[in-house]
């Protein structure tokens, strides 16, 4: 196959969606480019694959593809791609923390590597520090995360920073962990009230603020954002944590059947997501099963075809599904806590259960 034919494969992959088909096309383009393409084609195919896999719910594939790109970052022929590689590095950094099999030392060394590369390339390290702040608060290191957030926000924005619509949600994630609900809303204001949009905004921000709005008893506003973004969120891949937030909101506001719709609709999309995202989903699904059983509701939760339970467990067997999600969330929590040397994930499970128990009925 000539490099022109490689080029054709790469173009097909580039035009595909962020889904298994797009990933398969990009993998094919990558493998053919490895055999008969130019260096640039090998790089381009992998950059496309990194994008499809990141946003198509296959972070492991993205990590493998991206690693090759990073390994060749310093080569002269990669010069035109360096800015894009640094952009993709942000996605990969985020996903590294979300796998418990990567040690904290590995994650932090990758973080330092990213900081160095950004600085050497003349870019602000604001987005890299912001990722660190988020991951610190995911580990329960709230004070440290706040310090890093402040350091991040003191740095200028430039072309490598996440867009003005996406960055607020990340900032709000850190602020939420501090329990300052008003700060969460203030940070999210541009998206909530000034109409900033992006590929995943306002959906991510709307999901983000639901808990804060409940804590502040601003239920009308919470209801509004849920109604606007619930269905669009379910239709998009790689928004597992946002879906989990909607499920928790629905449970707290006594809308368990709608929560069951969300879990049924989205479970299949989570199967290859990062373990941290699957933890969020499992916790919310576990609480859903408990709720449905307690209410005596005979709601079905559809088991995805590709899941190990398919064919052996009925979607109406809430006890069995609940047991599965309980075990899954506990397993993932223990894996992360063991990696981090804390009990934070276990305490997150307890906190979500407590939050959901504080009912605030809302008619949707």
């Amino acid at each position: 196959m000539s490099s022109n034919e490689c080029e054709e494969l790469i173009r097909r992959a580039d035009n595909a969606n962020h889904d298994p088909e797009g990933i398969a096309l990009a993998e094919r383009a990558m493998r053919q480019a490895d055999l008969s393409g130019t260096f640039e084609q090998r790089l381009e195919a992998r950059m496309i694959l990194t994008g499809h896999a990141t946003f198509g719910g296959s972070p492991e594939i993205a990590l493998v593809a991206f690693t090759w790109c990073l390994s060749h970052y310093d080569e002269p022929d990669a010069r035109a791609w360096r800015a894009s590689i640094l952009w993709n590095y942000k996605w990969i950094l985020r996903s590294l923390y979300r796998f418990p099999q990567f040690t904290i030392q590995q994650c932090e060394r990758a973080h330092e590597d990213a900081m160095r590369r950004f600085q050497e390339a003349g870019y602000s390290t604001r987005p890299v520090l912001l990722i660190r702040a988020i991951e610190l608060c995911r580990r329960g290191e709230i004070d440290a995360s706040r310090e890093v957030l402040d350091a991040s926000l003191a740095l200028p924005r430039d072309s490598r920073a996440d867009c003005e619509a996406c960055e607020p949600e990340q900032i709000a994630t850190v602020l939420e962990a501090t329990g300052n609900w008003q700060d969460v809303l203030r940070a999210s204001d541009d998206v909530l009230h000034r109409g900033l949009v992006c590929a995943e905004q306002p959906e991510l921000t709307h999901a983000m603020v639901l808990h804060s709005l409940c804590e502040l008893d601003l239920l009308d506003e919470a209801r509004r954002y849920h109604l606007i973004s619930f269905e669009p969120t379910l239709s998009m891949p790689s928004l597992t944590t946002a879906v989990a937030r909607h499920v928790l909101f629905l449970l707290r506001t006594e809308n368990p059947e709608r929560a069951a719709e969300a879990v049924s609709a989205y479970w299949g999309k989570t199967l290859e997501e990062a373990p941290d995202d699957r933890f969020d989903f499992a916790v919310s699904a576990s609480l859903l099963c408990r709720d449905l059983q307690a209410a005596g509701l005979e709601t079905e939760i559809r088991v995805p075809r590709a899941h190990e339970l398919h064919g052996t467990t009925s979607g109406r067997d809430l006890a069995a599904l609940g047991a599965y999600f309980d075990a899954e969330s506990a397993r993932l929590a223990d894996a992360f806590d063991a990696r981090n040397g804390t009990t934070h994930y276990r305490s997150l499970m307890a906190r979500h259960a407590e939050d959901v128990a504080r009912r605030m009925p809302v008619r949707l």
Binding site: R28, R31, D34, S36, T67, L70, L96, I228, A306
Partner: protein, 595 residues
């Protein structure tokens, strides 16, 4: 000491024209809007008032003056100071008589749009109560304005005069202006007349086609509306509505297929005024193949009034419109199946997305869908007739690798690679609980093949082939399979391929990322690719009998041939075999012995 903000009108106009309004032509809509609101305000006080708007162009080219006249509630001198010259202050927020449904304009910036096309705007107005003399307000683009009282007697109402800038006069001639008035004001519930000398012509019909009485003229008018205003030739149409959004109108099914990536643009009228003909967010995403023309009374516009505000009202309206469409499809499936079939014939892709969105619709629509298989496009029912276990390949890449083999062994395999097909196949048990789905690969086919009875043949083939392919990573199998015409098959395990990708990446990585990838590696789960020789194939039997160097070359060529059949990438070594090996075999064939 307090101060007032200074406003640069020039700067503000530039801001509006470059960032708020999509086109300088919106001044026509703004003027129509003001006129409509004024007459509606008068109607609150005088319900039987015969409202109208008259538009006249005096002259042409540089110096042309456009006049928009309404016989509405008019303005007093105080109101002229307050509302015409205070940007952001709209009379419609609190000063006009309360009206069910509110007014079109709300934001207080409409008149500014006129300065995009005119250096001077003159407003002549007489308030309805006639307690004051008529006033003439003149605003200029430099931010200055003047107001004077007129001695002449005029009827209540307002006329806005725009002395068009030279470039605007060239763009907005009589024909263009009439077109814009029709474009924006077609459904306004009052006559908009174009005055040219002694002649007047009403430009708008004032009535939506769906408001006509049922019958042939109505359906003709609905179709014609689509051709003229939406730019599509409709295959079909149906009414849609949402009580929450106060929405009523028509959804059109076009006679041409629509691509999912095409942003749907619906035509939305707000209280009779065209808001936009490219509103994208009105319907659920799965209804992308429809184009709508609707009126709404309740949905809220953005500040530019060219789009809908993304709020919970729109979200609820979108849901209701979606339900309205679903009910239509369900009814069609029950009582007009031929009509539904016409939709599916043109918009199968769109209807597949509809089925993905709703379980009930899935059950109704799934029997009508066709899927790509290794035996061509087949309807689902035909696929299920063959077997209740559907063998499928999840992507087009996987399908191309397995299709040829599947055909050879007379197995049906369905491709799940095209848009929505995988999702539909994964939910096939919604249609029939007994149906199961099995993902297949070449590797899977090979496991089912029979071991040949001739052990001697197997031994010769096995030994010879392993030696010939020792430089390649594959597991050699010798089996009997049908059809006997296929000499060999190659099947790669997707997990093995990804493991190879990981090894390749780890080789070049630094110590950190090499160790990170090491955490992902699962070599035990990866199976070597399989190269399976068909002991039933006469060519393969002949190679076994021949032995020697010729057999070695033949095995290598058969290997590359199998790679090609499986659409696997060829490396340098494989290409060398293809070129060199084929020539060697031909030469051997000509000479009747080893090369």
């Amino acid at each position: 000491m307090s101060h007032r903000f200074q406003v640069s009108l020039d700067g503000l106009i530039e801001l509006l024209s470059n960032h708020l309004y999509s086109s300088p032509a919106v001044f026509v809509r703004e003027l129509l809007q003001n006129g409509v609101d004024a007459v509606e305000a008068r109607r609150v006080l005088e319900p039987d008032h015969g409202a109208e708007i008259r538009v006249e162009l005096h002259g042409s080219g540089p110096g042309a003056t456009l006049a928009f006249a309404d016989n509405g509630i008019g303005l007093t001198e105080e109101q002229a100071h307050e509302f015409l010259a205070t940007i952001g202050r709209s009379a419609k927020r609190g000063e006009l008589p309360e009206r069910d449904g509110g007014y079109l304009g709300q934001f207080g910036v409409g008149l500014l749009s006129c300065f995009v096309v005119a250096k001077e705007v003159v407003v002549v107005s007489r308030a309805l109560d006639r307690t004051e003399a008529p006033i003439e307000w003149t605003g200029r683009v430099d931010g200055s304005y003047s107001v004077r009282r007129l001695e002449s007697e005029i009827e209540p109402g307002t006329t806005v005069y725009l002395r068009l800038r030279p470039d605007a006069a060239a763009t907005f001639d009589a024909e263009r202006l009439r077109e814009l008035i029709r474009h924006y004001g077609e459904l306004l519930p009052l006559p908009v007349r174009w005055v040219a000398g002694e002649t007047e012509v009403q430009l708008n019909s004032g009535r939506a086609p769906w408001d006509m009485a049922a019958g042939q003229p109505r359906s003709h008018a609905i179709d014609e509306f689509a051709r003229v205003n939406v730019g599509i030739d409709p295959l079909d149409s149906f009414e849609i509505s949402s009580e929450t959004g106060g929405v009523r109108g028509i959804a059109y099914v076009g006679s041409q297929r629509v691509n999912l990536v095409t942003e749907p643009g619906h035509r939305v009228y707000l209280k009779g005024m065209l808001l936009s003909d490219s509103i994208g967010s009105l319907l659920p995403r799965w209804a992308f193949f429809l184009r709508c023309v609707v009126q709404t009374d309740h949905l809220r516009p953005t500040a530019s009034r060219e789009d809908l505000h993304q709020d919970e009202l729109l979200a609820a309206t979108r849901r209701e419109l979606g339900e309205s469409i679903k009910r239509t499809i369900i009814r069609m499936a029950e009582v007009e199946p031929r009509r539904l079939k016409r939709w599916i014939d043109v918009h199968e892709s769109g209807m597949k997305l509809v089925a993905c969105a709703d379980d009930e619709l899935y059950r109704l629509l799934a029997p009508h869908f066709s899927f790509p298989t290794n035996q061509g496009m087949l309807p689902l029912l035909t696929i299920l007739d063959r077997s209740k276990e559907i063998a499928f390949a999840p992507t087009t890449v996987a399908f191309r690798q397995v299709a040829g083999v599947a055909t050879g062994v007379d197995r049906l395999v369905v491709s799940g690679g095209y848009q929505h097909d995988r999702e539909l196949l994964e939910r096939v048990d919604l249609y029939d609980h007994e149906v199961t789905l099995k993902e297949v690969s070449l590797w899977d086919f090979a496991q089912d093949f029979q071991e040949p009875a001739d052990r001697d043949l197997v031994a010769r083939l096995d030994e010879g082939c392993r030696r010939a392919l020792s430089a390649f990573d594959c597991r050699v199998l010798v089996r009997d399979f049908t059809p006997a015409s296929v000499p060999a098959l190659y099947g790669a395990d997707p997990e093995a391929q990804r493991e190879k990708d990981l090894e390749r990446a780890a080789e070049d990585a630094d110590e950190l990322f090499s160790s990170i990838l090491g955490n992902l590696s699962r070599p035990e789960a990866a199976r070597s690719p399989v190269f399976c020789l068909n002991a039933s194939n006469p060519l393969v039997q002949g190679v076994a009998r021949r032995g020697g160097e010729a057999a070695e070359t033949a095995f290598q060529v058969l290997y590359v041939h199998a790679l090609l059949q499986a659409h696997e990438p060829l490396g340098v070594r494989e290409r060398q075999i293809l070129e060199g090996g084929l020539l060697d075999l031909i030469e051997m064939g000509m000479q009747g012995g080893d090369a």
